[in-house]
Symmetry: C4
Subunit: 382 residues, 4 copies
């Protein structure tokens, strides 16, 4: 495995490797987007449209990638973002990622849909850990998760606002993707061709479920999951719920999934600490703008009164630098670390973080920038 990983030098390559080792339904679950996957592609394409204008003679003998965020210094402006079911990609995948994040000196945000429970994750060693939640129809469950997160020492609570209805993920439907994995002739055949993953996961299948709230042993195919989510998640959530959460949660509070500047203005009014500009990686509303094109108006609307982060389409260190140049304080990654996890577990996630760190460092060095806060709009070519 180590030799295999040594040959990998980019996120694109680790994705190709993940595709080779994972059953198709599992790979597609992470890789796919909603409907025609336009927003999925647009996330990456709009980064490619932006160009950087370096000033090498400013001199950057050494680069300091660290960034102060919500009172904590992170070693690089990149956070391991929340993705569901990481435990499907590697045994105890969430905890493996937590150790990699801790080693890299950055924060990690646990998904509500994690396989392991938030309490177990809290013991995995992540110094800076965030917890992601929803507004459930049963507001008591939102409160319960929040209280459990506080008790387990999570520093930040991330309220995802763009998942109140399940996105129309056509790859999952076509693949008959189910949680826990449904053993049909087709899926068994698909898995059999991926022997290494199958062997590694052999003891895990019965445990793969939503650790934080699913009833264990329950067979939840996509249709059933959608129904269940329908009864759990509340499309009627509103700013009153944000206010209530703000009242009960004493730590850092972030909203994830903000695209409209009007929502940034309201977030400021609600006393939220941060916004994550995101379209859920193109997995929810196909037709939403790319995160990077929605970012500038959000930064303007928030007027410096809260931290703006960005998630969606980040595949290179240069993407992180472009987001920072447009006013983001840091970026989150989702698929890239899942791919690393699928290929090498903790070491795979660590390698992804190292690649990003190395790429950000090189871009800064070539641009004549020594510190993260020296990255600004001057760096962009118009």
């Amino acid at each position: 495995m180590t030799r295999e990983m040594a040959r990998i030098g980019s996120v694109a390559e680790i994705r190709a490797r993940a595709r080779a080792v994972l059953p198709r339904a599992v790979f597609d679950f992470a890789d796919g987007g909603a409907e025609d996957e336009r927003t999925l592609r647009r996330n990456e394409e709009r980064f490619a449209d932006l160009a950087l204008l370096p000033r090498p003679l400013n001199g950057a003998a050494a680069r300091d990638l660290s960034v102060e965020l919500f009172g904590r210094r992170l070693a690089l402006p990149l956070i391991v973002g929340p993705v569901g079911l990481a435990g499907l990609f590697w045994p105890d995948g969430e905890c493996a990622a937590a150790r990699a994040a801790a080693q890299a000196g950055t924060a990690i945000c646990l998904s509500h849909g994690s396989v392991c429970t938030l309490e177990r994750f809290a013991e995995a060693g992540a110094a800076a850990r965030w917890m992601q939640v929803f507004i459930y129809r049963d507001r008591g469950f939102t409160r319960e998760l929040t209280e459990r997160a506080a008790a387990a020492g999570y520093e930040a609570l991330v309220l995802t606002i763009d998942n109140q209805l399940l996105g129309n993920r056509e790859r999952d439907r076509r693949n008959g993707f189910a949680i826990p994995p449904r053993l049909t002739a087709g899926t068994l055949a698909g898995m059999a061709r991926k022997g290494r993953w199958l062997w590694r996961m052999r003891g895990e299948f019965s445990r793969i479920t939503f650790g934080n709230y699913a009833r264990p042993g329950e067979q939840a195919n996509v249709a059933a999951l959608a129904a269940r989510m329908g009864s759990l998640l509340d499309p009627g959530m509103s700013w009153r719920d944000v206010e209530e959460l703000r009242r009960i949660w004493k730590g850092t509070l972030l909203l994830k999934g903000v695209l409209h500047p009007a929502e940034a203005l309201e977030a400021v009014a609600c006393g939220v600490d941060g916004i994550i500009v995101s379209n859920h990686g193109g997995r929810q509303l196909d037709g939403a703008p790319a995160s990077i094109e929605a970012l500038p108006a959000i930064v303007t609307a928030s007027g410096g009164k809260l931290a703006v982060l960005l998630d969606g389409g980040v595949r290179r260190g240069a993407d992180v630098v472009k987001a920072l140049a447009l006013g983001a304080r840091a970026c989150l990654i989702g698929r890239p670390w899942l791919w690393g996890l699928a290929v090498g577990g903790e070491a795979g996630v660590a390698q992804v973080l190292e690649m990003f760190g190395s790429e950000i460092d090189r871009v800064m060095g070539l641009s004549g920038i020594s510190r993260i806060d020296a990255i600004n709009a001057e760096l962009l070519f118009r």
Copy 2:
């Protein structure tokens, strides 16, 4: 058939299935456009260019998709549009579609070129039925059709203004498409490979003609059809004809095929009730703009004095929402329901309408929109 349809979850998939079951000449008759098919492709591409900016925290616990149109409440802002020869795709296809529309709670517009007569269609069960006509060289025939539509209880008359000369449909020419189907070695070979369609339609061939005015039994290939249309349709039609129609038709009157704002202004002056922005699905003037890009200027020109609908390139619920955000009151679909009809008859059309309803509902839910009239330009990303 039901299992086959259960695996289908998008208009693109139902199109692929229709392509598999239909003889090529029949599939192409519906699928093709004029000349280089630029307007055909542009209709879809310009929808893809638009992006939606959701505000999920506005809250949309339940979504009401219904819309009031010409004094009637439709269950969703989507109307089954007029397409000729639907009876070629499924036995008694127009009536099958009428039942599906009724079940979905929306309106359906019969094509002048339907296989079944307008009187028979009126008995098929559609609550809200519209009738589409042309200005024929023989104005008496226009008046006759209009009177028959009134007698049969049609609520709206749709005057199509962009078909006064037959479009240059190169696929039909190359395929030797003829009505009723011409039995040559080539077409027989093509049909033989589509056994299911052939078996289903075996008793229908002699009846496939233009129910409302063709002479039964007549063999009309494309050249003959063009000649015949040439003698039936009148490129000399003018606003005087619209005024005359307005005088004799007491119900709702719509113009279909408006692209130029100047025509919207004249339509208002003529007392027309509605305009359907359309380029005939790219089947007439190749080089016309996409319907969705022509829409805004028409909405502005009409100044709220009549209802503006849109037809052309609508393939997703998100497309409907985008058209509404730009000022349309509802959309029409053509090819999508024909594809559904070819795959599953009434059930196929019903499934297409359900898919649209489900997609519109999801887009509204994810965008924080509860009612159709809350959809406006704020929803669009600039």
Copy 3:
């Protein structure tokens, strides 16, 4: 041949047929452009970018495609443009085209590089014939050709200004294209596979040369041709030469190859009667703009004081209408009629002209336009 041509309904199809019947070197000689063929492609792409906004209810019961140009009425706003060596595509090809143009009621311009002499062409039956010339290093030869054209009753003289150096035609170089055809193992093999063309042209090879001034029997490969042209054509030509030509030629005088508005201004000052906006079909300066995008500034600069025509990328009737909407008085075609000639001789050229006429008529009818002079910028979508 008639059956073959009956199946053809577009310029693209007749091009495909020409590709099938011609030796590659001959097809490429007509089809290719300079260097990377960017201008060649751009000519067609920029037409596709333009959209037409029809007003069908203006009414166009009958369409009159005729246009008055330099005191003569043409049956349609399309002229058979000058292309060299048409006699290589069909025996006596220039005269075949002249008969087709006469039959269609339009003008034809003979190329200086025709196989047949201008005197012989004058007898072929074209009513409205134009002659194209260059400024040769030997000004006496320019004057001689001009006097011969006057004596033979040509109505217009077309001075091509963008061919003073031979373009860098890489297909010709790679194909070893030579005039007259060089019989090597490779070219013989290439021709042998095109038996019909070979049989038809069997008696012609020795006669294929530049009828108006090449020394018969001379073997002129591309390199030799370039050298020869170098000694014939004069890149030092200037406005003084235009003034001189204006002085000696009493008929209509046009400049072909104008792209810069400054040259349009000078053309007005020189008393030129018309300008043909052209980039030589992308065969000379690769990197020149598309003719259709250069047109508007030329129309503005000429201020109505001379007729502006357009050449380059015209493949559909809609292209002609778009050029007229932007201010052109008529269009010229080159490759399309050569393809028709290669497929069917006089009948092939006639069919191409008929297709254009039919397409222009349909576009006008669908747009509510009855006369050519009613085509203006209102017809274009912005």
Copy 4:
């Protein structure tokens, strides 16, 4: 070889030939760019976006391509740019190129990373020779190279400012590219298929190293090279270093790798004689703008107080003319001459320079331009 080269008529063709004769790792070393190779492609694409607006009747009987630059007249506005390890493509490749440049009457810039030493190169016959250097961590070495260049009669010193960290060249990593060539099973197999190159280079392998400062015999794979460069090159270089170089170097001083207008302003203040707008051929910062799009702001910022040259994406004579029209005084080429070298040694480089000269001459002739200094923004289509 001569027959092979006679068939080649464009840079694209000579690249294809180089690909055929070189081992993949060697071809990719020259051909590849950093990361996703976006800047690499953009360099060429942005040239293609620009269009030229000729004025043929201005007359250009003869074209003078010569240009005065830093007190010397060059025969054409094209300079043989610095590229490392040319000696890997042909025995004694740098000197072969020097002779070709001298024969073509233009300047050549030796790379710091040349295989041959700068002293040996100085004897190869280049009349106008420039030397490229870096700011090394050991400033003494920079001074030493500078003094050696002065002693060897170099006219200009080119300080490259965009290579202070090694770019992320993924092709090299994947190919296991190493200097000197590492003989593994894989690379041997790759080379064996390229017998001609292998035979020609058979005596050279042990000598292929960085002639000016590498320790001979040292095995430097990419990782080791990066480490070594890391210890040699200094990302902490700054304007103070430029000032110091300006102080010790009495000849012409240029900065290569300027993209930001602010750096052009500072270069003027430092008394630099020229700027080379460059992104290192897309080999360093992937995401930098194309050179040709960065050029206009640099020209404006420099205000005529120093000479602006351009490097990156120049593949045709028309590209050179476009750069000059936007204010560049001359262009540099890198890959094109390396490809020529790989195919034909000195004769291959000479052929590349001849092709550029011929193309520039033809573009000028077709545009009605006789002298280089008559090329300006009027020539560009907007």
